[in-house]
């Protein structure tokens, strides 16, 4: 009889655990689909058709963020000969793309896209990252422990690491000029510096309307897509292009779900595993070894 009871108990606990995880899964899936970003978040619409690759945005970023002097002048366009990534010394870089069948190259500025639901933020176990209501994804470098998980989590490969710092290396990236400008309702330095208004600053929801209107007014010029409107749950920085997005360096296979939603279901199970399982299996172990213990005690008594 005792064995039966134990089996029932085992069955019950496993079923209960499974049910609990299913319920929690559903709850969280609903939560992720209803957020979609802060209502008044600001953003920038980047229009690749206007960019001429002058690198004024890079120079402005360098000055505003107090970054180290560049290895080459910002008016040296030879750096465009190879594709660059953001780094500890450059939170934004411009790359050039030759488009097959077109006599003009396109230029694409990259920086943090300030996701509505940032993967870097979710992946950070010391909570260094914050998504502000103004739309910026900022971080507190003083709590960064340098695990670099955010660099792996970011679908756009944006956060960089200050490998050059021996004593206190931290993750570094574009913060939408939050501290010096965005917080006060002002556009970031790159937007102000851009001579051709490649960068349009405004409320994210207005930028989507503007983007759609540009596409509607010039259907021959633009691809019928705003990159970042829906990608990975939406980003504050979005793009218009005259060439297919995969030809100008964009990852077009990211999907529309926030990166968070791929791991959230698993992550909700982790606390349950960590808290319930040790107690549960310790219980099993004690139950299983109780008879042995009793026998031992009986033997020693004899």
């Amino acid at each position: 009889m005792k064995a039966m009871n134990r089996r029932k108990f085992l069955k019950g606990s496993l079923l209960g655990g499974a049910a609990a995880s299913v319920i929690s899964k559903r709850k969280n899936a609903d939560a992720s689909s209803s957020f979609g970003g802060y209502p008044d978040a600001m953003g920038v619409l980047v229009d690749l058709t206007r960019c001429i690759g002058c690198r004024s945005c890079e120079a402005a970023c360098n000055k505003e963020q107090g970054l180290p002097a560049p290895a080459q002048s910002f008016d040296d366009l030879s750096v465009l000969d190879h594709e660059r990534r953001t780094s500890e010394g450059a939170y934004t870089v411009v790359n050039r793309y030759e488009i097959p069948g077109k006599d003009h190259p396109l230029f694409r500025k990259i920086q943090c896209n300030h996701c509505n639901e940032p993967a870097c933020l979710t992946s950070c176990f010391v909570n260094a990252y914050t998504k502000t209501p103004e739309g910026a994804v900022i971080y507190d470098a003083t709590v960064c422990v340098g695990c670099r998980t955010c660099m792996i989590a970011c679908p756009f490969y944006v956060p960089a690491y200050s490998y050059s710092s021996v004593l206190n290396p931290v993750v570094q990236k574009c913060i939408f000029c939050y501290d010096t400008r965005l917080k006060f309702g002002r556009p970031p330095a790159c937007v102000e510096a851009c001579p051709r208004e490649v960068l349009t600053f405004g409320k994210r929801k207005d930028l989507i309307k503007i983007g759609n209107q540009r596409i509607q007014n010039h259907p021959d010029l633009y691809e019928d897509h705003i990159y970042g409107e829906k990608e990975v749950g939406g980003t504050s920085w979005m793009y218009l292009s005259s060439a297919p997005f995969d030809q100008v360096g964009f990852d077009t296979d990211l999907g529309t779900q926030p990166i968070l939603s791929y791991v959230k279901e698993f992550l909700t199970v982790v606390p349950m595993v960590l808290t319930i399982w040790p107690a549960l299996f310790a219980g099993f172990h004690l139950l299983a070894t109780r008879k042995d213990k009793q026998k031992k005690e009986e033997k020693s008594e004899i």
């Binding site: 290895a71 208004e197 600053f201 405004g202 207005d206």
Partner: protein, 178 residues
């Protein structure tokens, strides 16, 4: 305060006297010969725009740059829908319509407040100059580099880490790192 008001009245009077003939029957040749564009000059010296020469280049078609504001017939079908017969306007200079403080909170709030505004996506003054000038220069095969039109100031060299502020040659890396 009164002094400022006097100046303002003076300025309005002078501008009325100077530009009133332009308003109704503006024709090419009535415009200024040269325009000094210095409203944005910080990193670059002011640009001396040869207005007379550009009138020749555009065959005196003011609409190439001034849209419909001089009463010239426009060609863009989208603009024609409203401006086919809208005639000359009081404002002609670029800076009258294209904001020089584009994207500042005040400018965005102004657009936000006017729900019926159609031209919500109107570029600022700096972009109006650069898009208009450079797109045409490219079509015409004219000089199109930054310093072909305006030479850089000392502040500009500092900003771009160029000229006297250029990094030493030996520091050039072989390629971009991460």
């Amino acid at each position: 305060m009164e002094q400022i008001q006097k100046y303002l009245y003076g300025a309005v009077l002078v501008s009325l006297l100077c530009f009133s003939p332009l308003q109704n029957f503006a024709v090419a040749g009535d415009g200024p010969d040269e325009v000094e564009i210095d409203s944005l000059a910080q990193l670059y010296e002011p640009v001396y725009f040869d207005h007379a020469m550009h009138e020749e280049v555009t065959d005196s078609n003011c609409a190439v740059c001034h849209h419909h504001t001089l009463g010239t017939q426009i060609e863009d079908e989208n603009c024609m829908r409203c401006h086919a017969e809208s005639g000359a306007t009081d404002e002609i200079a670029c800076q009258e319509c294209h904001s020089s403080n584009r994207f500042e909170a005040e400018d965005l709030a102004r657009i936000d407040a006017d729900k019926t505004l159609y031209h919500r996506d109107k570029v600022g003054l700096k972009a109006a100059y650069h898009i208009r000038c450079m797109n045409c220069h490219e079509e015409m095969g004219a000089a199109n580099g930054c310093q072909d039109c305006h030479s850089r100031t000392d502040a500009g060299n500092k900003f771009f880490h160029a000229g006297n502020y250029a990094p030493p040659e030996s520091d050039k890396p072989a390629g971009g790192g991460h």
